[in-house]
């Protein structure tokens, strides 16, 4: 389950109860534990005191308005931006020690499309982490990469230079690269932004497949209309953690209002759909 670690003073429990719970939880490290994380850019906070705990395999959507810190949260978890305070553990240990278990699909904007690599080269990069320093990808890695390409439907474009692909094909290439990493937990930054409907379907079925294999996938997502359909859990961010939990009980109108503020007017579709669902429940 996912939940904010502590926002309100908890009810006092009996000592025995507390001890038992703690013993139980101690044996199972949370998949992701974010404690008190603050990230700032020149004194202006981008993320403020984020507390988040995630258990077990799950498909999680991270949503919030532009500039809410969604990408920053992912980068902070992965150690790509410095933290002003707080700490993050993945499967109970620090992110540096768990690199092999982590898969990352960054945003597509900063790629140099003139780089002399083809599609297969890019997917092979996903295997570099497991090879370690100095070793080269050989036939097993090549075959694995081709298999990943096949799962996203790009097997016959393996030799194409990446600048020659369409937007959807580029995104699928990076997805195949993430698959090739054979990770336990995946972080994806807006994988469905700017792609056509067909590619979005491919991406989503891939995410579901990963979930069924027992992986955890956190996806920064931009389209509110599809949140309920795609994700079983949702994290709602606006510099602070507004809410986190299973989608049916968390992705509700007043949480949306707190996340998006007065801009709910633009989100009429989502609001209406939710209102209708709330009425029917």
């Amino acid at each position: 389950m996912i939940g904010p670690s502590s926002t309100l003073p908890s009810q006092p429990k009996s000592a025995a109860e507390t001890a038992a719970t703690e013993k139980l939880l101690a044996n199972v490290p949370a998949v992701l534990d974010v404690h008190n994380v603050t990230v700032a850019y020149h004194r202006k906070p981008v993320l403020w005191d984020i507390d988040l705990t995630l258990q077990g395999p799950s498909l999680v959507g991270i949503i919030g308005p532009n500039g809410a810190g969604k990408s920053t949260l992912v980068k902070a978890i992965l150690g790509l931006v410095p933290l002003v305070s707080g700490r993050v553990t993945i499967f109970g240990r620090s992110c540096q020690k768990q690199r092999k278990l982590i898969g990352y699909v960054p945003q597509r904007e900063s790629v140099d499309w003139d780089f002399p690599v083809n599609v297969l080269d890019v997917v092979l990069m996903g295997t570099y982490g497991s090879l370690g320093w100095f070793r080269r990808p050989r036939r097993p890695q090549r075959e694995w990469a081709l298999e990943c390409l096949g799962r996203v439907g790009l097997a016959d474009l393996a030799g194409r230079q990446i600048g020659q692909l369409s937007g959807g094909q580029q995104q699928r290439t990076f997805l195949a690269r993430a698959l090739a990493q054979r990770a336990e937990i995946y972080f994806m930054d807006e994988p469905m932004a700017g792609v056509d409907a067909a590619t979005e379907r491919v991406v989503f079925s891939l995410l579901r497949e990963l979930r069924q294999q027992g992986k955890t996938v956190l996806v920064v997502h931009h389209d509110l209309r599809t949140v309920a359909e795609y994700f079983e859990q949702v994290v709602m961010l606006n510099m602070r953690l507004v809410a986190a939990g299973p989608t049916p009980t968390t992705f509700l109108r007043d949480n949306l209002a707190k996340t998006y503020g007065g801009r709910l007017g633009i989100l009429d579709d989502a609001a209406e759909a939710l209102a209708a669902r709330e009425r029917s429940v």
Partner: protein, 439 residues
């Protein structure tokens, strides 16, 4: 300038000059590939300026430039330059290019002052610094049984080290250059790779310095790599081509010196520049000439197809296949006119698709009719597809079909037809020509 007697050239001198030049150029070229791809070309420039004071100091202290400890010191300075530039930019908020400019002009000025303040019996002057001393390859020492120029062993060592570095760290360099964020997330620290690369660049620069001077080092770090980038889409080939360009530059530099008496280093830079220019114009896929050629041939194909389609439609409307032909001017105008239309007509005639008829008119041949039918079939199938799946108004269909029809091959035609269940007519009501069975 007199045309010198090439047969009087000393072959040993020629060989060794070119060899020394080629070795230093090649090391720089290989490392330069990564600098160019990571958009850090000018950092290479900065490093090669920055090591000047270090080299001068080492020379004053030890009397020679490319000794072992000197090399290590230079690597340190190279990394330091990169670090300082980065720090100025990130922490000091100085724009990236300005921070590079500050660092390398300052260090170069320091070097110049040190040279000037050196005791006058020291054999180091600015000319040497800038252009190296390739002409003095006369001095040779025995090494492994062969008489080689003084700098040859160290240059060979540096080239070997560069080759080893690039081979060993091939995939790390590739991923750290392409996607640093992912690399760091995977545990291949992009920062470590970056500083290793800078250290190697500094080492190659120092080794090359004595032979070819600082200016040429910069040229060799950037120009062969840029040339190779235009020639290929694979990283491995890019590194290979850059070495080839580097070696050819060495040869051209030597020849230039022999012919024009200009000093070898400057002409090597010019030689590299000439090769770059050739690549810009004539590279198979990315050269300007080939891009222009592609555009022209594509344009020609489209216009000739349009011409043939015009004739076909004319036949369709008048209902006759044995018409007196369509006036040439009319055809040309409908097909989009312009220079390419004038070229298209003879091309079609040569292909046997049209025939000129008296009175300045054109007529389709049976072969032409066939190819026109295929085009018109594509056009109308596409219109039917758009109409069926997107419910667009009738007047929105034609323009799209006009563009797309040229790129629909027989396989896609079949798929469209089967998707639409073999339609007989397009949304405008015009008949869709039947596909000819392949012979």
């Amino acid at each position: 300038m007199t045309w010198p007697d090439l047969s009087a050239m000393d072959p040993a001198q020629a060989f060794w000059t070119i060899a020394v030049g080629a070795l230093s150029n090649a090391s720089c070229a290989v490392l330069g590939c990564y600098l160019v791809l990571r958009r850090m070309s000018l950092l290479g420039d900065a490093i090669s300026h920055a090591i000047l004071p270090g080299i001068v100091l080492a020379f004053l202290l030890t009397g020679q430039t490319a000794s072992g400890p000197m090399l290590l010191g230079a690597v340190g300075i190279g990394v330091l330059t990169a670090v300082v530039t980065q720090t100025l930019h990130v922490s000091g908020n100085v724009p990236e290019d300005a921070s590079m400019g500050v660092v390398f002009t300052s260090l170069f000025a320091l070097g110049v002052v040190l040279i000037a303040l050196a005791p006058s019996n020291v054999d180091l002057d600015l000319d040497c610094v800038l252009m190296g001393r390739l002409e003095e390859v006369l001095v040779r020492e025995p090494w492994l049984g062969v008489e080689v120029p003084l700098k040859f062993p160290s240059l060979l060592a540096v080239l070997a080290a560069t080759a080893a570095f690039v081979t060993l760290f091939w995939k790390e360099l590739k991923i750290a250059s392409f996607d640093p964020a992912l690399a760091t997330a995977m545990g291949i620290s992009a920062a470590v790779v970056h500083y290793l690369l800078m250290g190697m660049v500094a080492a190659a620069t120092v080794a090359a310095f004595d032979a070819v001077g600082s200016v040429l080092v910069i040229a060799m770090l950037i120009v062969p790599a840029a040339t190779a980038h235009l020639l290929t889409d694979r990283l491995g080939w890019m590194v290979g081509w850059s070495v080839v360009v580097a070696i050819i530059s060495a040869v051209l530099g030597y020849l230039g010196d022999i012919l024009f008496d200009t000093g070898v280093a400057g002409m090597m830079a010019v030689g590299a520049g000439l090769q770059f220019l050739l690549a810009v114009l004539l590279a198979p896929r990315h050269g300007l000439v080939s891009k222009l050629w592609h555009r022209l041939t594509l344009s020609l194909r489209i216009v000739s197809e349009d011409l043939v389609a015009v004739l076909y439609r004319f036949e369709e409307t008048t209902g006759e296949t044995q018409t007196a032909g369509v006036p040439w001017n009319l055809c040309r105008r409908i097909a989009g006119g312009g220079l390419t239309a004038w070229l298209a007509a003879p091309l079609l005639w040569w292909r046997g698709e049209v025939r000129p008829v008296s009175g300045g008119r054109l007529r389709l041949t049976p072969r032409g009719r066939q190819s026109a039918q295929s085009l018109v079939r594509s056009h109308r199938l596409w219109e039917a597809f758009l109409g069926e799946h997107f419910q667009l108004p009738l007047d929105h269909l034609h323009e799209s079909a006009e563009r797309v029809e040229h790129f629909i091959g027989p396989k896609l035609q079949q798929r469209l037809a089967s998707d639409l269940h073999q339609p007989g007519r397009d949304p405008h009501g015009k008949e869709i020509p039947v596909a000819k069975e392949p012979e």
